[in-house]
Amino acid sequence: MTHATTALLLTAPIAVPLATSAAYAASGLRGAKARAGVAALAHRTPRRRGAAAPVATLVLRPGGRTDESVHHGSPTGTRGDGPGTATPAGPGTGSVAPPGPGTGPDGSPRPGPGSVTSAWPGPGPDGSAAPERRGAGSVVPPRSGTGRVGVVPPRPRDAPRVARPEAAGAVPRPLTGRLGLVSPFAILTCGAVLACTVPDDGPVTAYGRLLRADALTVWMLLTVGAVACLACAANPAHLAHERTDLPAARRYHLLIHAFLAAMSAAVLAANLGVLWVAIEATTIVTAFLVGHRRTRASVEAAWKYVVICSAGIALAFLGTVLLYYAARQAGIPEAYALDWQILAARADRLDPSVTRLATGLVVLGFGAKAGLAPLHAWLPDAHSQAPAPVSALMSGVLLSVAFAALLRYKVIADAALGAGFTRTLLAGVALATLALAAALLLAQRDCKRMLAYSSMEHMSLIALGAAVGSPLALSAVLLHMAGHGLAKTVAFCASGHIARLCGTTRIGRIRGLLAHAPCLGTAFAAAVIALLGFPPFGLFASELGLFRAGFLSGPRWAVAAALVLMLIAFAALAARTSRMLLGPPPGEDDEEEPVPLGADAAAPLVAGLAACAALGVTTGPLTALLTEAGEIIGGH
């Protein structure tokens, strides 16, 4: 491979998403010009057909102003119901908050149609504006037995945001459709090409050792690409169903692609400092994605997410700084003192006590980002509030990318300190996280939070695998990351559809999903079955490998304890899910027509499940890659 090709391959996963992101940003500037065309399109396309349209053409649905205005015109009296009587409808919000202190004594109704609300990202227009009382303003969407999943009557809460039609700049639809999938495919393609060469030719670098791709990188790239493909394919349906207006949709796309770029950068970075910067960048980008809906709950989730993750990851930076200090004192020149490969090669010269401190901080810090205790608490909140595809991306790959960063440090620490220190640390963290997740799953009441805790469970398993540390365990860890990413993506995307269909994410209020919406229910059930670790899905193979390796070489007490805790989590997850899925359909009429799932919504789910199942059956051409990646981290 020539130097230029290498550079291209290593840059593209970052550059293409960035460019896409920029394109979305630019389209906002050009929006005015495109608007006329979009309006025409909007009138030609009947609203309800959209959900069944092919993926490539269905990305954004323009505002549909006529419809919206109808909803603006709905009497505010119904919306102004007291919070106590209204049923929360927003996905992921289980409780109705009492009115905040600023509600105003008159309980002033929400702004009427056409009123100007805060523009992103500027501050709110006026402190006196009545706070958006989530829950209070939303009525339960009537359950439409004939409608397709997601085509639910519009949510009035969104209405004020669409209230400025003149701001609705638009990217022409076909463009956005392709654009949305370009960057995931770019990542996947680069990963695939590298997967062909790296196992044979060894790692490649570019830009003066700034970017580097070894087997671990390639595996993570493939995982990121695959999950991103699914999530981006699910985006259009999600946005359409959420009735997102164009600027918001554009912001959404912009951020998603920036997010992908940051993750690719984190995976490709050869320099630990750059790695840290990229991971922190994901926090910043996803903060807005978490808060995308701008409800009280989503603002809360975003705040917790940013504060906890930033604080956590700052600790990781402190650890990195200390490692840098140790490296400099070990005689590694400044330019290479954060270079992973060199650090790993010369780790035996690092001062043990400094490295120990650094490693502890890094485990704590990147552990926060990977959803591990003790800084795990952002995870259920953020995952339950983020839009479903974003939750999927965060849970599916962001956690893994953060953990992959941790794995890099682990190599250095193990070489400097011997395996004992990280093993104890990671095993402790893993067990604490697992115990926490299992305990909180036991009486879980919210569907998306349940999935989030399940992510914690799986991340702790991954951490346990890293604690075991043999090549087999590490290969299993990487396989687990991929399998979990795919399965969790499907689960989150399906949970998004479920939330829209049922108008709630409360487990207690969702009944008979398999009877009510068979396709959606089946997909969700299959995803949960995959997450529970049943064959033929990839998680079975990885868990099996992990426990085998654990009993062979690892801390057996930890592995045994993990098995017991996982049993508890299994029971909780199975019991909770069965509550949602099984039983007669919720309507009074037992013979009610089941709700079909649109092709565009179904495609990512089916693809994700198929990929996950394929991983469980065989890794095919990726076997060598997986083995080598396992040996990179665990091979000493």
């Binding site: 504060v307 398999l514 009993f551």
Partner: protein, 677 residues
């Protein structure tokens, strides 16, 4: 291509075709195609198994499948026996299943998910015995678990109890998996490799402690699959709630694999285990046998009764396996081989008659919508064929000649009686008790099946559903007929199995000669003075019946029988409500075993409004709960729920608290590092 290999390939191919058909075809074609594919798969499995029993061996390694491990398959006579049994049952039940799901069958059974899971489930049943490495075994094992879970949930729309049963099943299965995974992984770690060949070699080098741990973990895991007390609660829930063809498979081929696992891993791979371990197995089997059949005696739900009877029969099998292990570990291979052969024969017999019982019960459930014996009755007249099949299988199940169940229990008793030659106080105490347990369970089994047959099928209909029952379609009869033929063949000429059983026993690592010497018409034991000629006994019985009938014919003045009213004590014709129900039938037994069963009684006296001294209504209720479940599982579940509720306080929503976790984590880490960790 060896027969086992071609059987595996054909079975896999048919399973794949069945899955596709289950997903793609319209309802009726789907059911028929899936049924035929599954039946073919069963046939292939049976053929492969029989070939292996005949001495053919086969092994294969597919490195590309199952990431991180690869798939190892191997077939010997022991696996062959279980493959053949599973294949045969699958074949018959699949034919039955076509009729069961078509037409007025339960809605859920015909659905795509259920129909496409069925062939996979059948495939795993056939292939689990062929797995030859820890990973392959667990893969197939879990495949079996997940497909059976889907199948158990088939009728989830109709009854809310299905969900509960499904969760119990899933969780208990997972408990089993956790034990199994831990046990096998420990074994693989100790033996230094995960293929069965490596385990076999490495087992000798393991420390006694490790061997003991592996033994107990693995035995517990398999015991839970076999429905052994106290890991049984899934069984009386899942089997009744599953569609009957699925119950038939689960209650036979699947639970058999629990016994297979113990024989394969604890007996063969581990090279025998500690004596105390086998005592434990034997005790578990004995406990389960008595407990299972007692609960069956109390049950009035027909399928629950059959499920508990499964627990009993597998308990008997484990008594045999445990005894075999005990004898082998004391160095007496001859009685050990006999006991193991008895266990294997009982596995076979039980599979065939229990499948037939469940199929017949399914036929009743399908026709009447009833599982409650108290509300059945009179089905003999409405569904003669089903009643006949149920009678045949009941005869096998009650361990009385000329049923096939008698033969294996006879063999089991023989092995225990002759095991007294093994010295040791433990045998002197354990074996008589085991014999008593077998006898008690046989006696109770007689009561149980008299109840099931007599109350369920005889007398008169006690509900509208039973009164309007219609006979099932011919395909179901065909399936049941195949099983009935199997029962009969096993009952009359068990000697033909002699050589196969000997090979299977040898494959389990017992080279104590051939336990069954006789071939053909006689069942004669080798080196032990005992023999049995089931065919002659049956013939003599028939001759006796014919002679007695002839006697009546000759002596009676009028040849024709005349009908007459039942004696009504002069109080008008007895109504169906007066007849004995299953509950009343079981009442004496329940009083006898009062202390064990611990029934819950509830008397509600409602006085009339005007006066507290006048009674308007008295409501009496007595429930015989599963005591083990109540005492062992309820507290655990309650505690888990309490922990879950309490754990919510860990996530109170306060960002300060969340940051505090991190802060204290950091401080703790720093403190640990500062004090010099």
């Amino acid at each position: 291509m060896s027969p086992a290999e071609s059987a595996t390939v054909v079975a896999t191919g048919l399973a794949g075709a069945g899955v596709l058909a289950g997903m793609l075809l319209p309802t009726r074609a789907r059911i028929v195609t899936v049924g035929l594919c599954t039946a073919g798969l069963g046939g292939a499995g049976m053929a492969g198994g029989v070939a292996a029993l005949g001495g053919a061996r086969w092994s294969a390694y597919l490195p590309g499948l199952l990431p991180l491990a690869g798939l190892h398959l191997a077939v010997d006579a022991l696996s062959g026996l279980f493959m053949a049994v599973a294949g045969a049952v699958v074949l018959a039940v699949a034919v039955y299943g076509i009729g069961y799901a078509c037409g007025r069958g339960p809605r859920g059974t015909a659905s795509r998910g259920v129909q496409s899971s069925l062939p996979v489930f059948a495939l795993t049943l056939v292939l689990v015995p062929a797995a030859a490495s820890v990973s392959s075994f667990l893969l197939l094992w879990e495949g079996m678990a997940v497909t059976s879970l889907v199948l158990v949930l088939a009728e989830q729309r109709e009854r809310s109890t299905v969900r509960e049963a499904g969760v119990w099943y899933a969780v208990m299965t997972h408990v089993g998996l956790v034990l199994l995974l831990a046990g096998l992984a420990l074994f693989a770690a100790g033996a230094g490799g995960e293929t069965f060949a490596q385990l076999r070699e490495g087992a000798a080098g393991m420390s006694p402690g490790a061997r003991g741990a592996v033994f107990v973990l693995v035995a517990a895991a398999f015991a839970s699959k076999a429905g052994m007390v106290p890991l049984h609660p899934w069984l009386p829930r899942a089997h009744p709630e599953a569609p009957s063809n699925v119950s038939a498979l689960m209650s036979t081929a699947m639970v058999n694999l629990g016994a297979y696992g113990i024989i394969r891993v604890d007996f063969e791979l581990l090279g025998g285990g500690p004596g105390w371990g086998w005592l434990l197995v034997l005790a578990t089997g004995a406990l389960s046998a008595v407990y299972g059949i007692l609960q069956a005696a109390m049950a009035s739900d027909l399928k629950r009764l059959l499920a508990y009877s499964t627990s009993e029969n597998l308990g008997l099998v484990l008594i045999g396996v445990g005894a075999a292990g005990l004898f082998a570990s004391s160095g007496y291979p001859v009685p050990a081989a006999l006991a193991l052969a008895a266990a294997l024969l009982h596995v076979t017999n039980h599979a065939v008659f229990k499948a037939l019982l469940f199929c017949a019960a399914g036929s009743v459930v399908r026709a009447t919508g009833l599982r409650d014996l108290d509300r059945m009755g009179g089905l003999r007249a409405r569904m003669p064929a089903t009643a006949g099949f149920f009678a045949v299988s009941s005869l096998s199940a009650v361990a009385l000649p000329p049923g096939n169940g008698f033969l294996s229990e006879w063999l089991l008793l023989q092995s225990l009686i002759h095991g007294m030659t093994v010295p040791g106080v433990s045998t002197a105490i354990v074996l008589p008790l085991a014999v008593a347990v077998i006898a008690l369970s046989a006696g109770l089994a007689a009561a149980v099946f008299v109840k099931a047959l007599g109350v369920g099928f005889f007398a008169r209909a006690r509900s509208a559903g039973a009164a309007s029952a219609e006979e099932s379609p011919p395909l179901m009869h065909l399936g049941m007929g195949l099983l009935a033929i199997g029962c009969t063949a096993l009952a009359l000429v068990p000697g033909t199995l002699g050589n196969s059983l000997s090979r299977a026993v040898a494959a389990a690592g017992l080279h104590g000669g051939r336990p069954l010497a006789g071939g053909g018409l006689e069942l004669r034991l080798d080196r032990v003075a005992a023999s049995l000629s089931p065919l002659w006994v049956t013939a003599a019985l028939l001759a006796g019946v014919v002679a007695a009938a002839a006697l009546i014919r000759l002596t009676t003045r009028r040849g024709r029988r005349t009908n007459a009213r039942l004696w009504d004590c002069g109080g008008g014709a007895p109504t169906p409500r007066m007849s004995y129900t299953a509950t009343s039938f079981a009442e004496p037994l329940q009083r006898v075993f009062d202390d064990v069963l611990d029934p819950e009684q509830d008397v509600n006296v409602t006085p009339v409004r005007e006066s507290a001294y006048l009674v308007e209504r008295v409501r009496f209720q007595r429930i015989v709960p599963d005591r083990i479940e109540h005492r062992l599982y309820r507290p655990v579940l309650a505690a888990a729920l309490a922990v879950g509720r309490a754990a919510r306080r860990l996530a109170p929503g306060s960002v300060h608290r969340y940051l505090g976790y991190g802060f204290f984590g950091l401080v703790a880490l720093l403190l640990a590092l500062a004090v010099g960790w």
